[in-house]
Amino acid sequence: MAATLVEKIFSRRCGHPVRAGDVIMAPVDCAMIHDITGPLAVQKFREMGGKRVFDPEKIVLLFDHQIPADSLPAAENHVFMRRFAVEQNIHNLDIKEGICHQVVMERGRAGPGEIVVGADSHTCMYGAAGAFSTGIGSTDMGFVLKFGALYFRVPTTIRLEIEGAFCPRVGPKDLILAIAGEIGADGANYQALEFAGGTIETMDMAGRMTCCNMAVEMGAKAGIVPPDGITWEYLRARRQVNPFTLSSDRDAEFTSVHRFDAERLSPKVAVPHNVDQVVDVEKVAGTSIDQVFIGSCTNGRFEDLREAAEVLGNRSFHASVRVLVIPASRLEYLKALRAGLIEQFVAAGALVEAPCCGPCMGGAFGLLAPGEVSLSTSNRNFRGRQGSAESLVYLCSPATAAASAIRGEITDPREV
């Protein structure tokens, strides 16, 4: 019987055919926990009677949301997690490596056909590596830490077919914002989003990560790209690979199929306070901004920083704007350093911070005061997301962020 990519992953891991709608207890190949959701997961693991985790080798543990510890409670949570790592013999990446999702990807901890969970909603990003990966809460994670398995309802799939080449200064972030605008904030609730078509087939891993990362903004359980040569090449540098074919059958059953023409896309902006409130940049051009954030698990990779740097050139950022640049990981930071991008940003007036989530989750630094406006390459513009409930967050691509930071107002990157 014809099956979707996601049905095939669950069938493969379960050893018998499963269909969308089936409820199964599936084994977990990798579980990721961080400083915010980890302590509660550990507490729940213990309350469940957990003594030893299912497999310390299959756990990625790091801190990225509040690092270096920005308050005493955060410092205490870090100590709590460090002790747990020692007690359970889990390799602790601590505060040193960067944002959890980028680190899981760059260490090759998620691969085609695997089932990965993380106690963070943007775990859906590892679909870029052909994994079924999904965000879960802390209690579910406590269950996973104990049993190495979790209940899943195998999701139905919405297929997105994207064809055509992007115009200059338009890219994957504009595409995923356009998709969010069409699908809606709950249009993919409980479902998987499969990205396919010529645009995806030629897209680099960084772009695929940007797309899969934001699947959850449409309510999706997972975003996924069928693994191909680009996927296997990315993984080959990071782990042992044995390439195999994994894709939806031609006659597989999808809830719906949506087609997008990348060539016709213009730069997009998601306006406050929902990710699906998406407009062409012209519509909000001229909006005055106080802070620009270039970073996050959505857009903090080398390719994103390079995109911003190309728009910037040898110009300076506008005097009235605070520009925060935060590479997604230590390795991405090094790439940017070696390419001269960091010097370029600092010379232009940006603050470059060490790899972490930064202002994205509104719990650490870079908070907004009432009335302030942020333009951000991150993934959420909810009311109060980056500080005061009276502040405004707009979402955009690295190119639009850089162009706007030069002018001090939201700007079409094709104009600078």
């Binding site: 891991r13 379960c14 050893g15 018998h16 499963v18 089936d22 409820v23 199964i24 207890m25 599936a26 084994p27 915010i36 959701t37 509660l40 507490q43 729940k44 309350e47 469940m48 009677g49 949301h65 509040q66 308050s71 409670p73 955060a74 949570n77 106690a119 963070d120 909603s121 965000g135 879960i136 809460g137 802390s138 209690t139 579910d140 406590g142 269950f143 104990k146 049993f147 398995a149 209940y151 309802r153 904030a185 709950d186 609730n189 409980y190 959850v216 309510g219 359980k221 929902n274 989750m361 509104g362 719990g363 908070l367 959420r380 909810f382 009311r383 109060g384 997301r385 409930a389 009276e390």
Partner: protein, 164 residues
């Protein structure tokens, strides 16, 4: 006992802002619930109150602090037209009951309401509204009082045996 009415797409940042995620105690979290977006909630909510919302309640972050904050505020039931996936499961896991009711928009703010999950309806202002049952596989967790209690009763789990 009263209803607290909310609209569509209430995200978990609104339920509990990011700056409080270093806290894990439900009662302390409850004192910051809806801070900035509905300030009177934390001060006025009482044990047994019910949240009523539109579509996609609990979207966004996977933070379990959100259902914990509501639980700490004395909420036991959340009624909505639909729930975001992670929140729905988190709520059940911590012993809250999310109830899907397609008529949730018709229930007014601040009114008394009775919830009859076993009978399959809620009642407000003399009108009965049908509610959807919890999926069968989650009902066991609901009946146990949450995932911790459920997991304690399991000596081990057998993978891929729960196909329905």
């Amino acid at each position: 006992m009263r209803t607290w009415k909310f609209g569509d797409n209430i995200d978990t940042d609104a339920i509990i802002p990011g700056r409080y995620l270093v806290i894990y105690d439900p009662r302390t979290l409850a004192s910051h619930a809806f801070e900035g977006t509905r300030n009177e909630f934390a001060a006025e909510v009482s044990e047994g109150d019910v949240i009523v919302a539109g579509r996609n309640f609990g979207c966004g972050s996977s933070r379990e602090h959100a259902p914990l904050a509501l639980s700490g505020a004395g909420i036991r039931f959340i009624i909505a037209r639909s729930f975001a996936r992670i929140f729905y499961r988190n709520a059940i896991n911590v012993g809250l009951l999310p109830i899907v009711c397609s008529d949730a928009d018709r229930i007014p703010d601040g009114s008394p309401l009775s919830v009859n999950p076993k009978e399959g309806y809620i009642e407000c202002g003399g009108i009965q509204y049908p509610i959807e049952p919890v999926p069968a596989f989650l009902q066991e967790i609901v009946d146990a009082g949450g995932l911790v209690e459920y997991a304690r009763s399991l000596p081990e789990v057998k993978t891929c045996t729960g196909s329905q």
